[in-house]
């Protein structure tokens, strides 16, 4: 087949697809819990926090992923810490941190790189970055598998979780770190400003269909992977940038799942 041949002979496209597959799957899986925790928009806002990190990394000529992750890590720590010591609602904290980051990011990122930082490009992923992205995606999914049941019990009833000696604060911090990793990875696959969608949409779509938590998690993972791979393939075919098409692919899947939702008893 022509497409298969193209994928196998074109190294750049091959790396893009593998990275998209794994990062899409990890984002979808993590997103399933974010949507239930009502943190969907936090993921979106956090993606903007990556920008100053990328900018500074480009200035210092280090790997932009490292910069993005460092910025996200500090951002999530701030959100977590401020939430614990004040009664300011999380969304307000996130709103403030996110707009400040975007402002700082726009100031520090050198102008030629600004476009790349904002809009990312999966076709520019090196083999080493690709291996790193795959390994981290696997790590994120494994860590999430280990904590997801405890987290969900905390969502159903914080009292039940506390009564079973589950440390919700620690779990939330761990979860936010996983979110930081996934968002930093996703910045490469889709664009910074669109990363939120890779986390939210697959989960929202599978929530339309799934009745059990296990189905919901697996389905979010699969739909995330399909969105990323589908979007990247369509981009290559139509000669567009992959990011927006990944988002559009996931949105199409979301629309399709509505049929199941309305058909459900």
């Amino acid at each position: 087949m022509n497409i298969m041949e193209n994928i196998l002979t074109n190294q750049t496209l091959f790396i893009s697809l593998v990275v998209g597959l794994f990062v899409g799957a990890a984002s979808g899986y993590l997103g399933s819990v974010m949507v239930l925790k009502r943190l969907a928009l936090v993921g979106d806002a956090l993606s903007h926090v990556a920008l100053p990190g990328i900018g500074i990394a480009l200035l210092l000529e280090i790997n932009p992923f490292v910069g993005a992750f460092a910025a996200l890590f500090i951002g999530t720590l701030l959100v977590w810490g401020i939430e614990r010591i004040t009664t300011v609602p999380v969304e307000a904290i996130v709103g403030i941190i996110f707009s400040v980051s975007l402002a700082v990011g726009l100031l520090v990122t050198p102008e030629p790189e600004l476009l790349e930082a904002l809009f990312g490009d999966i076709s520019a992923v090196s083999p080493i970055d690709g291996i790193l992205a795959v390994a981290l995606s696997v790590l994120v999914v494994a860590a999430m598998m280990a904590i997801k049941r405890k987290m969900l019990l905390g969502i159903v009833s914080e009292d039940f979780a506390k009564a079973q000696n589950i440390k919700i604060g620690v779990l939330n911090l761990l979860f936010l770190i996983l979110v930081a990793i996934v968002v930093a990875l996703g910045v490469k696959v889709v664009v910074t400003l669109l990363m939120g969608s890779l986390v939210i949409i697959p989960a929202a779509a599978s929530k339309n269909i799934a009745r059990s938590f296990s189905t919901y998690g697996i389905l979010s993972l699969i739909l995330g992977a399909i969105s990323a791979v589908g979007g990247i393939l369509a981009a290559g075919w139509l000669n567009f940038a992959p990011g927006p098409l990944v988002v559009l692919a996931s949105a199409a899947i979301f629309l399709a799942t509505f049929a199941f939702r309305s058909g459900r008893a």
Binding site: R149, L152, V156, A163, Q164, K207, S212, F213, T215
Partner: protein
């Protein structure tokens, strides 16, 4: 005198500067059913949460070592579209499926029942309450804390929530702490009553301590459930 299963001494709970429970002391013996009554905002649920160690408190709360406490909260807001099946929820307790089926059987659900696969947010009120009781019963607790069972929910057959609790009490010698407003239930099932309105208003055998004067003091107005049907003041 045996050692009580729960001993509370000079318990104080404050939220910020507001005092919710003041100088509360009482004991419960193993196998007793105790009702906690009081007006809304009297601190009944807060007492439960303090006993469970969910909120900070001053004073002494003494449980025997390794006590297993089952807790049935008043209500949980579970979204209708939360993708979580009944069985998955019950597995959160970390017990084997056999133990879960045993607890389900105790509340009258049969193994393989179809609804175990439905979403937790989609079951009826009566089913939900039974699931919560089953959740509390997994691991065979020594004591059950039950925050306001809903009277009149259909739990199948002739059984009510109260006859179910009575059966568990008889069979497993379960100690039960119950928050309720229903005086008939208290007279019928509870061996002791604790009247709470921030502080202890009464404590003892229901028929002896729940006098019209006490109830009036507790609820701040004469209530028409007792022998002396006084005028209602609203």
């Amino acid at each position: 005198m045996t050692v009580p299963i729960l001993s509370v001494k000079n318990l104080n709970v404050r939220f910020d500067s507001k005092s919710i429970i003041e100088n509360l002391s009482f004991d419960i013996q193993k196998g007793e059913v105790m009702a906690i009554i009081g007006p809304n905002g009297a601190g009944k649920t807060v007492l439960f949460r303090a006993l469970l160690g969910l909120i900070p408190s001053d004073g002494r709360i003494e449980w025997p070592k390794n006590i297993k406490i089952g807790y049935v909260p008043q209500k949980l807001a579970v979204d209708e579209d939360l993708p979580l099946s009944v069985m998955e929820f019950l597995r959160f307790k970390g017990a084997s499926d056999e133990e879960i089926y045993e607890a389900l059987e105790a509340v009258g659900f049969l193994k393989g029942h179809d609804f175990l696969r439905s979403r937790l947010g989609n079951v009826s009120g009566g089913e939900f309450q039974r699931i919560m009781i089953a959740y509390a019963l997994i691991n065979h607790p020594d004591i059950l804390l039950f925050d306001e069972p809903t009277a009149g929910v259909d739990i199948g057959g002739e059984e009510t929530i109260y006859s179910l609790l009575e059966r568990l009490h008889q069979k497993e010698n379960l100690t039960i702490l119950l928050i309720t407003h229903d005086l008939n239930i208290i007279y019928r099932y509870a061996k002791k009553a604790l009247c709470l309105n921030r502080e202890k208003v009464c404590f003892g055998v229901p028929k002896e301590v729940l006098s019209p004067e006490i109830l009036e003091k507790l609820y701040g107005a004469k209530i028409g459930v007792y022998e002396h049907n006084g005028e209602h003041t609203h």
